[in-house]
């Protein structure tokens, strides 16, 4: 076993993006815009090898995601392998393609937790956002099946301007279903969500109201000693300091994309950096020694204003992907920061959110046709 090297600790969290294939078309999907041209996927044996290496290095939390991980027919085998290695295994799914039999089979294989993601609290809106006509009923049925099989129930709602007014309904639905955890995750503007930002970002007024609703519901839960835990991830576009993205580049999280590309976070693929691939190097080499993973470790790379800032140990200069998307240079301070010379871009996005009129149907939905159109232009 290897411990820390040069102050770098082991990757404790491993995210296995098994595939980019997915039956849904969420306009905020975090997969790369050009996913349609990236159809190579690791084999079962290659994935099991990645899991073995990760566990030997110290990874304890494992997420299976995608795309829709259920489209991989070897999923039961991967779950069983992960459990045997001692991972806590999380399956992150849209619920499409799930059946009661699979829910049970995964439990038998040792899966610890299934997170079902929803698009809204009612079928019309849910299905419109997902780009699928029967998604909502299927999700409800599967949320119940997850609970019945004895898993903890974690429901995830991606929040944007078209469903943020539903907070009270969403929370009531979750409580009704018996959720243990609810994640209200405002879109993070990378990938498809960045392409659709104008049509997704809530206005300040919407956000303030949503926060008040969530806080009321939380204190109500508390007074009833109800264990349901509500996590509300608000958009950092309304902050004056950036988030400590991924707890620091290459500090805890390791993502492996469908084709084996190893990334410090699931959107880092959009950066102009050469990332290593698990088919060419050991995970240990990748984590401790590859230029890709060492690129933004420490603070030597930082330009001003981060370089001389006394908060750099707290937020590490924010998110590299956001810096790249908004300023064209990933080294820059995350423009969310009030000290960034590019902060005006965040302010402009806020103003745009106050006046946006983009309808749901005008969003660019995540599908192969749009992927090819965007990436050709």
């Amino acid at each position: 076993m290897n411990g820390a090297q040069d102050g770098v600790g082991p990757p404790l969290w491993l995210l296995a993006e098994l595939t980019y294939r997915c039956p849904l078309q969420c306009p905020y999907c975090s997969n790369p815009l050009d996913y349609a041209d990236q159809d190579r996927e690791l084999s079962t044996e290659q994935w099991l090898d990645v899991l073995r290496q990760g566990r030997a290095m110290g990874a304890a939390q494992l997420g299976f995601s995608g795309g829709e991980p259920l489209v991989r027919t070897d999923l039961p085998e991967l779950i069983a392998g992960a459990r045997e290695l001692g991972y806590y295994t999380n399956l992150i799914t849209s619920g499409l393609g799930l059946t009661e039999a699979k829910v049970q089979a995964f439990a038998d294989a040792g899966l610890d937790h299934i997170q079902v993601s929803f698009q809204a609290s009612d079928p019309e809106l849910n299905n419109a956002v997902a780009g699928s006509r029967k998604a909502f009923d299927q999700k409800l049925a599967m949320a119940r099946a997850v609970k019945d099989a004895g898993y903890p129930m974690v429901l995830n709602f991606v929040i944007h301007r078209h469903n943020i007014h539903q907070m009270a309904d969403i929370l009531a639905l979750c409580e009704n279903l018996g959720a243990d955890y609810v994640e209200l995750a405002t879109c993070q503007y990378y990938g498809w969500a960045f392409a659709n930002r104008e049509g997704l970002m809530p206005s300040k007024a919407q956000l303030v109201e949503a926060e008040a609703t969530v806080n009321r519901y939380r204190s109500d839960l508390l007074s009833r000693e109800h264990p349901m835990k509500v996590i509300f991830v608000t958009p950092d576009y309304y902050e004056e300091r950036p988030k400590a993205c991924m707890n620091g580049w290459g500090s805890l999280f390791l993502t492996v994309a469908p084709d084996g590309t190893a990334l410090p976070c699931h959107s880092a693929r959009l950066l102009p950096i050469d990332f290593p691939n698990v088919t060419e190097q050991s995970l240990e080499d990748i984590w401790y020694r590859s230029p890709g993973f060492n690129h933004y470790r420490g603070d030597q790379w930082m330009p001003e204003p981060c370089r001389s800032c006394d908060e750099k140990g707290k937020d590490f200069g924010g998110c590299r992907c956001q810096a790249y998307l908004l300023t064209g240079n990933a080294d820059n301070a995350d423009p969310v920061c009030g000290k960034s010379p590019h902060h005006d871009r965040i302010l402009a996005a806020r103003t745009a959110a106050d006046h946006a009129t983009t309808g749901l149907e005008e969003l660019i939905f995540r599908n192969a046709r749009n992927s090819r159109v965007i990436c050709r232009s």
Binding site: G58, A60, Q61, N90, D112, G150, Y151, P152, P227
Partner: protein, 87 residues
Amino acid sequence: MSNIPRLRRGFRFQWEPAQQSHVLLYPEGMVRLNGSAGAILAEVNGARSRAEIIESLERQFPEAGSLAGDVDEFLTEATRQHWIEWP
């Protein structure tokens, strides 16, 4: 409510060599436990009562004297965090 605690559904307690500590794993989360928290949670198995947990720990750490206060304090906190339940 009984006096026999058990880990909440979906929670797993295990030793992690890489972190040289016991951890509590749950949906998309992980708490690294200090030595005494780890020793107490190791006794929580859905069969032992609060009194038996204290007794067992006092047997393991005779030099520590009475542990009732520490154990109660931790179990109260773990209950408040919804890590353990008293079915």
